[in-house]
Amino acid sequence: MNAPRKVRTLLVDDEALSRRGLELRLRVAADIDIIGQCSNGREALAAIREQKPDLVFLDIQMPGLSGFDVLAELQPHELPMIVFVTAYDRFAVQAFEARAID
């Protein structure tokens, strides 16, 4: 029997400590496979197009391209599942408008 396919996951946050925090917390989830990490929107855009992850943990407030800018750049067929990561309530509401899953 084949092992169930893992969820290929990309972490995007400009703060290294936040990425590390996500990584440590996701490590306990056996079906999550972290395929890469990005520290800004530009890298994230490239990585999403190149590696086609299933799931992206996306920080909203980042230098250069924000999380929203990244989504706006992507074509509908390129869109992975997105979990927004933010400290601001205001962004969270906006995120649901952008059809975030959690």
Binding site: G21, L24, N40, A87, R90
Partner: protein, 359 residues
């Protein structure tokens, strides 16, 4: 006198001193007048009766005046003058009898009208008494009002300073606690502990401060360091710091947390939105009787709105305006505040009167 309001006690004493002293003075002046004009024997007894009777009547007038004090000006004037006339009439009636009894037994009043007319002259005495009474009372209430006004003004100033004082940004706390949580998960216990200690020290500095209190620039910079090393943990190499503070300026007094909003702004607008980060430079020096401080960054400056900052935090102007108003309340005209937009880079310069910590 235990259990008595000292102010009330003083006022009662003042009343009795003036009341007794006034009527004694009245008696003496009448006696001296009598001596000069060589009046008949027995006159001093009549004067004594007049003084004692006047003394007693004006104690009554005191209660009338107390009531009048709370009335409208019309009632005060009308009832006041009428009371004075009636009291003068009582006074005059007794005085006439005493005069007849002690001085001139054969003296007869020609008509009762003489008494009503003569009382008008005596009324002046009672009106003067009431005038002095109200004068003192008015002076006292004016004094109390002035004190109340001063107290209110200083309370208002303190309230304004409290409002303008730096208020801890809740996101700072949130981000820092998240960072510490990750450090613990990652088993970096030593660093995590350092962070908790710094955060605790910084919170004490922020939350415990009296807004009227001034601290030395050294203390202020130490507190800013607590804050910045906490932020450095999040931003890593992207946050660069430079200090150029003269040793002589370190003991100068500044309002506590004066630099905090300026530095927080610089982090938010110059470091956080940039991929390569930014440098924050803090300068301090003394020039003559002034302490000059500057916080500079190499971010986009004032004109560029920070792209990824939510609206409530976007007002870089709020922090600047609060700082400016706080300086205006504390130093009035004796300060300088300027923002220099270098595009890129924002430099905020402050000039305060130089005050040195004692010792």
């Amino acid at each position: 006198m235990p259990g008595l309001d000292p102010q009330k006690y003083n006022r009662a004493t003042l009343f009795w001193v003036l009341q007794i002293g006034g009527w004694v003075a009245y008696g003496i002046s009448q006696l001296v007048g009598a001596m000069v004009y060589d009046r008949m024997p027995g006159y001093s007894k009549a004067v004594l009766v007049a003084a004692v009777w006047g003394f007693l009547l004006t104690i009554g007038l005191r209660y009338i005046c107390r009531w009048l004090w709370r009335q409208s000006p019309k009632v005060m004037l009308g009832v006041g003058l009428l009371s004075c006339y009636l009291l003068a009439l009582c006074w005059r009636a007794v005085n006439s009898h005493a005069y007849k009894y002690f001085v001139e037994p054969e003296w007869e009043m020609k008509s009762i009208l003489e008494m009503f007319a003569g009382s008008i002259t005596s009324t002046y005495l009672f009106v003067s008494w009431a005038g002095i009474y109200f004068g003192i009372k008015y002076y006292e209430s004016l004094q109390q009002q002035r004190e109340a006004t001063l107290r209110a003004a200083s309370l208002a100033q303190e309230a304004q300073l409290k409002m303008l004082r730096y208020q801890l940004n809740p996101h700072f706390l949130f981000n820092t606690l998240n960072a510490i949580s990750t450090l613990i998960l990652d088993n970096h216990n030593r660093i995590a502990n350092q962070m908790v200690m710094r955060l605790s020290e910084f919170l004490r500095y922020t939350l415990d401060q009296d807004p009227m209190k001034k601290v030395t620039l050294r203390q202020e910079i130490e507190a800013m360091n607590l804050y910045l090393t906490t932020e450095k943990l999040r931003f890593g190499e992207r946050l660069k710091l430079e200090y150029a503070v003269e040793e002589g300026a370190m003991d100068a007094l500044v309002p506590s947390l004066l630099l905090q909003p300026l530095i927080e702004n610089a982090v938010k607008f110059a470091v956080s939105p940039s991929e390569i980060g930014g440098t924050i430079r803090v300068e301090g020096r003394t020039r003559g009787s002034m302490l000059e401080l500057a916080v500079a960054d190499d971010g986009p400056g004032l004109s560029a709105s920070a792209p990824n900052v939510p609206v409530p935090a976007a007002g870089r102007g709020v922090g600047l305006r609060n700082t400016r108003e706080r300086l205006a309340v504390l130093y009035e005209e004796r300060h300088r505040f300027s923002t220099i937009d270098n595009k890129p880079g924002l430099r905020i310069e402050l000039g305060l009167p130089l005050e040195l910590a004692p010792g």
